[in-house]
């Protein structure tokens, strides 16, 4: 059953058509990857789902709901969480506080309750904390719990961003290049995490990733994008061997070499 459906989506920035009449659907429970050359429009697709951009044409449906009727901050409430390609964390807050913001959509207390710290708020705070601690345990972030984001290395931030997205308890998780900047070892961790996210937590994952090794290990289906339009779609193996994908994305001259080097990273 398809959870997320894009139909004929188009978006232009001035003269640049970033996404061109794209249709795709992500099924509940699968890990779906978007790949494609730089500037193909992958992040733009994410940004449209997050409703930072409004497509000029086409529709985006999530679980039967028309996302275009929603504003950006309502998307999380529908159960969609995301990470960002270039990391957008709350820099002047600790890891814990960042994750607790992820719990925002689960809050129930009213403003007076919060102001006077009365009523159910205390129990609710414990609950949020509990949920967040589970994510911290899952992603091995214990040592960083009370650290300010501003002082963390790139790779840890990537994980914190994933954690923050998980803290929202989403149904659909959008990951924009989760493994970029991670070492081989960390990429391996990422691979298992994504596996668990799908299997244990039952969260559907849509991700953008250039590391074809990771893609082929964790993804059920892959869609290759170029110049905003669909180039190929299928299993990782099918897409990787698609001539147009090799030509535009993986590289012809270096097919074997790159694919090897990349492939062997995981």
């Amino acid at each position: 059953m398809s959870l997320l459906e894009l139909d004929g989506v188009t978006l232009k920035f001035g003269g640049v058509t970033a996404v061109n009449n794209l249709s795709m659907s992500v099924n509940e429970g699968e890990v779906f990857a978007l790949v494609g050359p730089n500037g193909a429009g992958k992040s733009t697709v994410f940004n449209m789902i997050s409703r930072f951009y409004r497509p000029v044409r086409g529709s985006i449906r999530f679980d039967g709901e028309d996302l275009l009727n929603h504003r950006a901050h309502e998307i999380a409430n529908l159960g969609i969480a995301r990470t960002f390609q270039n990391i957008e964390l709350f820099e002047r807050a600790t890891v814990l506080q960042n994750l607790l913001v992820g719990r925002h959509r689960h809050r129930r207390s009213t403003l007076p309750e919060q102001l006077f710290f009365a009523g159910r708020i205390r129990a609710e705070e414990r609950e949020h904390r509990h949920a967040v601690e589970e994510v911290i345990d899952f992603l091995d972030l214990q040592v960083y719990r009370d650290k300010m984001i501003a002082g963390l290395p790139y790779g840890v931030r990537k994980v914190v961003e994933l954690a923050r997205a998980l803290a929202t308890k989403p149904r659909l998780l959008l990951l924009d290049e989760p493994a970029s900047g991670l070492s081989v070892e960390e990429t391996q961790d990422m691979r298992w995490w994504i596996d668990d996210i799908r299997r244990q937590m039952g969260i559907t994952v849509l991700m953008v990733e250039h590391d074809m090794g990771l893609v082929s290990k964790v993804c059920d289906r892959v869609l290759a994008l170029a110049d905003g339009a669909k180039l190929a779609e299928g299993t990782p193996a099918e897409v990787q061997s698609h001539p147009a994908v090799i030509e535009a994305y993986l590289g012809t001259s270096a097919v074997s070499k790159t694919a090897n080097a990349q492939g062997e990273r995981v």
Binding site: G39, A40, P153, G155, S183, E185
Partner: protein, 256 residues
């Protein structure tokens, strides 16, 4: 042969946090040296300290025999050291073209600059197409290309590259490394390369260092490093060589 760049016993702090704990290394002229290391090992900090973006607490950095530690970064750049920073630090409100021309800020030979810009455009045709676009609206990978192109515009003696392949497509990663290889071989540009994609990095490099928690824990020729078991299992991820494979538990690194 005296080293072009020599780092001796460097220590750098972020306030109370000691990020570089006595690092020494050498980069010979014409060499490509790669620094490998896990997250937070201090690679970026090391490069920033060399460029003068951060001040070291102790130690020396010698470039062509002269100490340059603690200098203002622009003075370091003027000596011919350029850094391509991690995380595409472009000038977001300036156009692609303006970003590139800033790369040549220290130069004044107009004709040469124009030639180099055309060269960058030939490496990355998409940048030529988008020369009037504000850099902040480029895609992540396009910004990375711009950052690298801008570094090339400086005609450096030594390039410090911090994860140049970050966010680039496999095809482009390959191309970038081809370009770097050519620059090194044809123009003799020395390079210090920090890269998570260790396979490509070791392939290009002559010499390699491995950093952990602010220290250098291994140093050898790139070929020897590539052959070492630890490197293979942790940085190259050779599954069959047995470190982790399809298992989920991790083996401890021997140098810890």
């Amino acid at each position: 042969m005296s080293a072009l760049l020599e780092v001796k016993n460097l220590e750098t702090f972020y306030g109370p946090i000691m990020a570089i704990r006595g690092v020494s290394l050498e980069v010979q002229k014409g060499q490509v040296v790669t620094v490998l290391g896990a997250n937070g090992a201090g690679k970026t900090t090391l490069l920033k300290t060399i460029s003068g973006i951060m001040d070291p607490e102790k130690g020396q950095i010698l470039f062509e025999g002269d100490p340059i530690q603690g200098r203002e970064p622009h003075q370091v750049v003027r000596r011919g050291i350029v850094q391509v920073p991690e995380g595409r630090e472009v000038f977001p409100l300036l156009t692609v073209e303006e970003n590139l021309s800033l790369g040549a800020y220290t130069r004044s030979d107009r004709a040469e600059i124009a030639r180099d810009r055309d060269m960058v455009f030939s490496y990355f045709p998409i940048l030529a197409e988008r020369r009037e676009q504000e850099a902040g609206t480029l895609s992540g990978g396009q910004q990375q290309m711009l950052a690298i192109g801008r570094g090339l515009m400086l005609r450096p003696k030594i390039m410090l590259l911090d994860e140049p392949s970050l966010g680039l497509s496999p095809l482009l990663t390959q191309e970038i490394f081809d370009i770097l290889r050519r620059l090194n071989k044809d123009e003799g540009v020395t390079m210090m390369l920090v890269e998570q994609n260790a396979a490509v990095a070791l392939d290009l490099a002559d010499q390699g260092y491995v950093m952990e928690l602010g220290r250098i824990v291994m140093a050898d020729s790139a070929a020897k490093l590539a052959a070492s078991e630890d490197i293979q299992s942790f940085y190259l991820g050779h599954a069959n060589e047995g470190a982790r494979g399809e298992r989920r538990w991790k083996k401890r690194k021997t140098w810890r």
